[in-house]
């Protein structure tokens, strides 16, 4: 008697669970059908995306930097800030320049960037940038400048960790941020191995270099490339073998920063040495 009762309970349990699961399955199927409908409506036609004059499937952007030419004038930093309306203080920047100095008798390299306090004090202002001349009277054996920015990696760590899909890699190789979707968790700022991303406190979203997407989709160069007086920065389309960056990569032995991180960056450097990372 007792056993019978238990068996009946078990059967009942299994059948009601089965019914519930079927019900959920039907709901899921119906829901996804709904979603598919909206998607198909959107991808109708073969209009060029994202703009009528620019088809992102036809370009593969890359950036080249010749660190042997950089004079550390920081015009790129100022031009980028003006072009992209970046926050005016020294700690928010989409691109920056680092100085590596080796002193005689010192094994460790000395690194400073334009956002270093001593340099800000030397320039006298948080929005005008200059490197100070602190190594003027020291015995310097080797020194050079290295400009840096978001590397727009092929396998970006920042895209992988974004919980809401606010940052993504576009089909033309640029990694972009959707400020409407960003929730400001700063996981991407943590994840980037190059420190290229930063948080904008006032807007509550993360930001970074976009290779001046609003310029390159119109056939212009990014602001930093246009302003650089020494030709350190080179930008172009890898699909075009005569573009400046294709020639840059073809004619020089290039390297990338932190290749071991697996991010596959698309900024190629000449003239950086072992301590640059």
């Amino acid at each position: 008697m007792k056993n019978d009762k238990k068996k009946m309970e078990r059967r009942q349990f299994l059948s009601s669970t089965g019914k519930a699961l079927t019900g959920l399955g039907i709901a899921a199927g119906g829901g996804s059908l709904l979603a598919q409908d909206t998607q198909e409506a959107g991808s109708e036609g073969s209009k060029s995306f994202p703009t009528d004059d620019y088809d992102w499937t036809k370009h593969r952007w890359a950036y080249g930097i010749d660190a042997t030419k950089c004079i550390g004038c920081l015009r790129c930093v100022e031009a980028c800030k003006a072009e992209n309306d970046v926050v005016g203080d020294a700690q928010h920047f989409r691109t920056w320049v680092e100085r590596y100095v080796y002193l005689e008798g010192d094994e460790k390299v000395h690194v400073d960037s334009h956002a270093d306090e001593q340099n800000i004090a030397a320039s006298g202002s948080e929005s005008e940038y200059r490197f100070d001349n602190r190594y003027k009277d020291k015995k310097v054996t080797k020194a050079f400048f290295v400009p840096k920015m978001c590397n727009h990696c092929a396998h970006p760590a920042c895209v992988q960790v974004c919980p809401v899909g606010a940052t993504f890699r576009a089909e033309d190789g640029t990694v972009l941020i959707d400020h409407d979707y960003c929730i400001g968790c700063r996981y991407c700022v943590q994840a980037c191995p190059y420190g290229a991303r930063f948080f904008m406190e006032e807007k509550g979203v993360s930001d970074k270099c976009t290779w001046c997407y609003h310029r390159i989709t119109k056939g212009l160069m990014p602001a930093c490339v246009e302003v650089c007086p020494t030709g350190t920065r080179v930008f172009g389309d890898l699909n075009d073998t005569s573009s400046p960056v294709s020639e840059f990569i073809r004619n020089n032995p290039v390297q990338v920063l932190k290749p071991e991180s697996g991010n596959a960056p698309m900024c190629f450097y000449i003239g950086i040495d072992k301590d640059v990372s």
Binding site: P50, I71, F131, A143, G165, E171, L176, E226, V227, T230
Partner: protein, 249 residues
């Protein structure tokens, strides 16, 4: 099944249903179109207005610059570098002139250990005459093509003499104005720059060679010596040897 299990399962099922429907309703329709992101964001980002204007834009309204800037040494320096990154056309059509040229020019031209050697660099207080205060850069240099001197800025009385006089028995070669600026019209020296009049020609040539190969330490002399060819150096050596040394007087 026991009521509490059934109720729990119903509750869970209810939550899942509500969550699923909310996701479908709240997700932007362009999401998933090209990947795990809102596809409409891309045209939004691409639609920004470019602010930074290239040289072509400025040269249209300032045609007088077409004569000197595009062929000068500053042809890679965009207008905004000196006139301001956010410069827009002023109402009277004039570009804002930078006030403190020493601060502006030394942004790129101050001697710094990390700067590559091919970049012309100066040390303040040493340029153009060692020991004398550096004057405003635009006193001597035309900002749009700095290799050209501003008219009247440089003492041109040291230019090559057309006639041969007792004081200058050898005709001065064209390149002598480069030396006279720092070593004096008679090669007598100026400030920290040593006199070069009366030097034996072989010594003169040897010293210039040492500057070229870096065996004598002077950035300015290295650059100037490299700018001369062999014939010019020999002619200068002849000329300065012919001048009486200051100690002979």
């Amino acid at each position: 099944m026991p009521k509490h299990i059934r109720n729990l399962l119903l509750l869970l099922g209810g939550f899942l249903l509500v969550a699923y429907l909310a996701k479908i309703y709240l997700t932007d329709p362009s999401y998933y179109k090209y990947g795990y992101y809102r596809a409409d964001a891309v045209p939004e980002i691409a639609s920004g207005e470019p602010l930074y204007k290239g040289a072509g834009y400025w040269l249209e309204c300032h045609p007088e610059r077409q004569a000197d800037w595009p062929t000068g040494n500053h042809k890679t320096v965009a207008c905004q570098v000196c006139h301001g990154a956010t410069v827009q056309c002023a109402e009277d059509g004039a570009m804002p002139k930078p006030a403190d040229t020493i601060r502006l020019c030394t942004t790129c031209h101050l001697e710094m250990p990390a700067r590559p050697a091919r970049q012309p660099q100066i040390v303040l207080g040493d340029h153009p005459f060692p020991g004398e205060e550096t004057p405003r850069c635009t006193t001597c240099h035309d900002p749009h093509s700095p290799e050209n001197w501003v008219a009247g800025a440089i003492d041109t009385s040291a230019d090559p003499q057309e006639t041969v006089t007792e004081e200058t028995p050898v005709k001065a070669p064209a390149a002598v104005s480069k030396c006279a600026k720092c070593h004096g019209k008679q090669g007598q020296g100026r400030g920290k720059n040593p006199p070069i009049a009366g030097l034996e020609p072989s010594v003169f040539v040897e010293r210039m060679d040492m500057y070229i190969y870096g065996d004598r330490d002077s950035k300015i002399m290295e650059r100037l010596a490299r700018a001369l060819n062999e014939q010019e150096i020999e002619e200068l050596a002849e000329y300065y040897a012919s001048l009486r040394a200051a100690s002979d007087e």
